[in-house]
Subunit: 253 residues, 2 copies
């Protein structure tokens, strides 16, 4: 009874294509149920035993899927208790760049955001080349300023593939950050960051209420959904009071 993977393709089909390893399909199933909202945050997942029954995979295979998702920060497991959906931002993992709104709220401050622009444009060539080869035509374009207790702290400019997130243009981003929306609307799989220090341009300086030329932290991010780039964005953090922190164990010796 080696590869009776049919059971997984039964009640809940995971991926039509079948060259993908079983444990990866179990991961995909779990990620989809989390993305769906079928298993909301902090919800307890079915036990390994249940997932074995649900998917038809062996417990070791289910366990591997759960372990890797736990390692990636998607899940949180407690021996003797169960498996839970981790807090959403733990998912970013790599660089602990929290959603700016969450980070501000975590500090006990009030987050506000002002939408400067939300339209659909013929993006400049520089942006289009960031989107990579196949590219996308006329992406959404949004510009926001996020503030903490009223003082602006982050300038966010973003381009979004309209085919992956067709409703992007109709969102109210003063209530919910674009990133927050995208992470739920689109299954984001890969991130690429480039961090640099820049002097505030006149536009940025005006938006963030900084003197022109003040040092700012710039974070350029490209986000994939599978093989396709879902969004390209540039975050500019105001002045010297913003930072990015990260910590990671490299080895467990």
């Amino acid at each position: 009874m080696n590869t009776h993977q049919g059971a997984l393709a039964g009640a809940r089909d995971v991926l039509p294509g079948a060259a993908i390893p079983l444990y990866a399909r179990v991961k995909a199933l779990i990620l989809r149920n989390i993305g769906d909202g079928t298993w909301p945050r902090d919800r307890r997942l079915p036990s390994e035993h249940d997932l074995v029954a649900l998917t038809g995979a062996s417990r070791m295979t289910v366990h591997r899927a759960l372990r890797e998702l736990t390692h990636a920060g998607v899940l949180h497991r407690v021996q003797g208790v169960g498996t839970f959906v981790a807090a959403p931002m733990a998912r970013s993992g790599l660089i602990e760049i929290e959603d700016i709104a969450q980070e501000i709220r975590r500090r006990g401050a009030v987050h506000g955001s002002r939408v400067l622009l939300l339209d659909r444009v013929e993006a400049p060539g520089e942006v289009m080349s960031a989107f990579g080869e196949p590219g996308c035509r006329r992406p959404f374009h949004s510009v926001l300023v996020h503030s903490e207790d009223g003082t602006p702290v982050q300038h966010e400019e973003r381009y979004v593939d309209p085919e992956l997130a067709p409703d992007y243009g109709r969102q109210d981003f003063s209530a919910r950050t674009p990133f927050d929306y995208l992470i739920e609307a689109v299954p984001l799989t890969e991130f690429e960051h480039v961090i640099s220090a820049v002097a505030a341009s006149p536009a940025i300086a005006a938006a963030l209420d900084l003197p022109q030329g003040a040092p700012c932290l710039r974070l350029d991010r490209r986000t994939w959904s599978g093989a396709r780039i879902a969004t390209v964005n540039r975050l500019t953090y105001a002045g010297e009071r913003c930072r990015l922190a990260t910590r990671r164990v490299v080895s467990t010796s």
Copy 2:
């Protein structure tokens, strides 16, 4: 024959304490042999079969150890061929902050470094608190400027625990970067980064040949060796032409 872990404690003892899972001890064994230089860079490791014979663990356990180290960027595996020690800097993984010298050479430029200071000091309280609780007395202190094709690009200030790296003060850092030396002399296990943008101070501006107040990328890093902090350093990248890049798969759905 469930937990016959004695074999691993035999020929090559891994960890005297034994509450640690077997796969973790196999990982530790591999990491130590890499750190030792027993298995140098690009060297092909013993096959899974050999490691089974060597450690007494089952192949699944050895495989798990190898898989996790591969995921962490320590190893590089090719199906049908074997397992290799990955290029050292891939090991940082999290943020691809290459050793500045390597990065410069990779770009085909000439790396130079000038040692401004190398002594042993009563460090300022700010640094000592960064070292954490047990602290270390009179750490080594070094200040360097790295240059690319003659133009300075990075200012590096570093404090090093003298008990972990007693020979730090006798190294020639114009030939070999401190980081390069430390990663071989001390088994580094954990990194913490804080990234911020700052305006160049007079000292930094002078060292990097920048106008005062120019935006610089600052990277504060603490590096652990086990439970102990081995080194605390602050890297300041010159101007807008330096950046940090990273890319990572978050999920494999």
